[in-house]
Amino acid sequence: MTIPTNYFLALSGVLFILGVLGVLIRRNSIVILMSIELMLNSANLAFIAFARAFEAHTGQVLVFFVIAVGAAEVAIGLSMIVSIYRSRGNIDIDQISQLKG
């Protein structure tokens, strides 16, 4: 017995909304970064689900790309957060508003 694709998609949607809410609501940079990671992985889940449903490999291949991109993004994001912390002493995202018009 196989789990229907809709279930995966629903889980993927729930995870994505959680990620979005995390990005929009939380002020901690690291948490935001984690929420973005959550969104990426929800998308991965959707890809995998479709790949399985249509029996195509394209979705799986894309997932690898997304994981690679996400790893790079996390690496850069964390290093930015480290340097922000070094210069400002905290990582509150609302404190970093020098680009305010």
Binding site: V20, L24, I25
Partner: protein, 682 residues
């Protein structure tokens, strides 16, 4: 003489004009470095050669009596107007150029002596050369006038002699009354002549309009076909030109003032040659005048009235040259009257005779004036400024002191008075005989003028040469050197025997001019008229002798006798004042109106200042303040302000909060997604 030789002689004709021009060019360029003797010799030789050339033309004409047209160059060629620079050599022009060149030569020689003295008396010896340059220029212009083949070329000469007249009247331009009198006299002559020239110009336009040509032969050939009205108009305008140049009523006022020029100028230009140009013009256009009897009558009347009026003015003048000036006007009136009556030969005859004796009289008067001036110098008196060497009341008793001058003056005077057998008797008598046949009125006017002529010339001779000297200067007067007296003697011979030209029975001049002129009246010698005029002349002289012969003081006895009439004559009928009142004052008022009201108030104050300047100022102010500041600057400023306003509103979007941006991305995503869903689901 064969035909080829004749043609060769005619080919020399342009030299009549060219020689004086050569003379003036030589004197113009190297005259300053030459001595006075050389300058005078060159100028006189140039005119003398011109005379020789004229003689050659005379000889050539014996074979070709009809005359010839000598082409020199094409001049003006516009449309149907074709005017060439050509000389008309016929009996009339040759007779005139012989007279002009001959008299000019004698006057040139005289002027060498006269101007030698004059430039030193006036204090500027440097002008000696200039005088002869002007003199040669005058002869050249006069020759152009005489030999012209068409009206336009004649007009060139006509204006040329007018210019020289102006230059020579104002020769001592810084002298005269108030240091400007001579210049004013020159100006007056020039402007008065311009009025006449205007008539000549209009006549030329009419001639071209009517006949399509300005050449004499072509015009005269088709003259019969033209209407009387247009011919009358043409001749009337020509007459206006004649009155200007030949000093007739109403334009005679310039000639007496023209005596401001040196005496040889008065003799050459204002007695012998230039002023006769008007008579020459009428004789040349005789075909036209013959077809316009109304104008001819007017010409005769103007001439006769001028003759009488000028003669009466001459009676009451005291300036020796002014008497001669009015005498010239009077004698010109005789000639004009003659040509008006159709007696063209008589007119030309009197013109030539008059040139002889009037040039003689003028030159002798110059001799008298210089004799008196030298006397003034020798007498040791110092009243140079106040003493007038031309006033006859300062003279007297010069007969024994200036013997040659006295005798030639007497010959000239008697010729003028019309005493036989001198030249003036025959020429004047011919005019009187013509007048007696044609018009009693003209005859009476001219006879009265002749009586007055004998009287005023007698008065002059007796005042100047007889009686006792009335001033120290006159008492010390001395005769002039031979360079002046020899030309006087030559002219005296001409004045005495000039009558031979047209003796009553021989009629040589009549026959000669008949070759050119179609209408030649044959007036028989009228013994009664001749006798009468002789008696009248003697009577005039006798009265003059009675009144002035033994006069001792300077007062004029005629003043007591004639009373107010004498004053009127002395003041020249107040014509100058009348013209001043009638024309000059009106003209000045008009000029003032134009200058003050039209130009200054209307044009300057209103049009320029009010209309143009103020409107311009207002419009520029409006452009600067209204348009530039408000519209252009406003557009730029408001555009900037608008951008600023938009920008200041838009900048609030840039909160700098990352989560805001993320939210807007989210919403954007939502919108895109919902759009795609709606688009692709249906």
């Amino acid at each position: 003489m064969n035909g080829a030789a004749t043609r060769d002689l005619f080919a020399l004709a342009p030299l009549i004009i060219a020689f004086p021009i050569m003379g003036l060019v030589i004197n113009l360029f190297i005259g300053r470095r030459l001595s006075e003797r050389w300058v005078g010799t060159i100028a006189s030789a140039a005119v003398g050669l011109s005379f020789v050339t004229a003689l050659l033309q005379f000889a050539a004409l014996q074979n070709t009596p009809d005359g010839i047209r000598v082409m020199v160059a094409d001049w003006i060629s516009i449309g149907t107007l074709n005017i060439s620079w050509a000389l008309k050599i016929d009996s009339l022009s040759v007779a005139m150029s012989l007279m002009v060149a001959g008299v000019s030569t004698l006057i040139h020689i005289y002027a060498i002596g006269y101007m030698h003295e004059d430039v030193r008396l006036q204090g500027d010896p440097g002008r000696f050369t200039r005088f002869f340059i002007y003199f040669n220029l005058f002869v050249a212009a006069m020759m152009i006038l005489i030999t012209a083949d068409n009206y336009l070329m004649m007009f060139v000469g006509w204006e040329g002699v007018g210019l020289c007249s102006y230059l020579l009247i104002g020769f001592w331009y810084e002298k005269g009354k108030d240091g400007i009198g001579n210049a004013i006299a020159g100006k007056k002559a020039f402007i008065t002549n311009r009025i006449g020239d205007f008539g000549f110009l209009i006549a030329m336009f009419l001639i071209f309009w009517t006949f399509g040509s300005l050449q004499f032969d072509e015009v005269f050939q088709s003259a019969e076909g033209a209407g009387t009205t247009v011919l009358t108009l043409i001749t009337l305008f020509l007459l206006l030109g004649v009155t200007g140049k030949s000093a007739q009523i109403p334009l005679f006022v310039w000639l007496p003032d023209a005596m401001a020029g040196p005496t040889p100028v008065s003799a050459l230009i204002h007695a012998a040659t230039m002023v006769t140009a008007g008579i020459y013009l009428i004789v040349r256009s005789s075909v036209l005048f013959a077809l316009a009897p109304a104008t001819s009558n007017l010409v005769a009347l103007i001439g006769a009235v001028t003759a009488l009026l000028a003669a009466s003015i001459a009676v009451a003048q005291f300036d020796i040259k002014r008497v001669l000036a009015y005498s010239t006007i009077s004698q010109l009136g005789f000639m004009v009257a003659a040509v008006g009556l159709g007696a063209y030969v008589a007119g030309i005859f009197h013109l030539i005779a008059h040139a002889f004796f009037k040039a003689l009289l003028f030159l002798s008067s110059g001799s008298v004036i210089q004799g008196v001036e030298r006397g003034l110098h020798d007498s040791g008196q110092t009243n140079h400024e106040t003493f007038d060497p031309q006033d006859m009341r300062n003279m007297g008793g010069l007969r024994s002191r200036m013997k040659i001058t006295f005798w030639v003056y007497l010959i000239g005077g008697l010729a003028l008075a019309g005493i036989p057998p001198l030249a003036g008797f025959f020429s004047k008598d011919e005019i009187l005989a013509d007048a007696s046949e044609n018009s009693t009125l003209i005859y009476i006017l001219l006879t009265l003028a002749a009586i007055l002529t004998a009287f005023y010339i007698g008065r002059q001779i007796f005042m100047v040469f007889f009686g006792e000297p009335k001033s120290e200067a006159a008492a010390h007067a001395k005769e002039n050197p031979p360079i002046m007296t020899v030309p006087l003697l030559a002219l005296a011979v001409l004045a005495a025997f000039g009558g031979i030209l047209n003796l009553p029975t021989l009629q040589s001049l009549s026959k000669w001019l008949q070759l050119t002129l179609e209408q030649v009246q044959h007036t028989e010698f009228n013994v009664l008229v001749a006798l009468l005029s002789f008696v009248f002349a003697l009577a005039g002289l006798a009265v003059a002798w009675r009144v002035y012969g033994s006069q001792r003081d300077a007062a004029d006895p005629m003043r007591r006798f004639l009373g107010p009439l004498f004053d009127l004559w002395e003041n020249k009928y107040r014509v100058d004042e009348f013209y001043d009142w009638l024309f000059i004052k009106r003209y000045k008022a008009l000029a003032f109106t134009l200058a003050e009201i039209v130009d200054w108030r209307f044009l300057h104050d209103w049009v320029h200042d009010t209309l143009l300047a103020r409107t311009f100022q207002r419009s520029t102010r409006w452009l600067a303040e209204g348009f530039d500041l408000q519209v252009i600057d406003g557009a730029a400023n408001n555009l900037a302000r608008l951008i600023q306003g938009i920008a200041s509103r838009l900048r609030t979007l840039q909160t700098g909060y990352v989560r805001n941006y993320a939210l807007s991305i989210f919403f954007g995503l939502l919108i895109l997604m919902s759009y795609i869903l709606i688009q692709f689901s249906s």
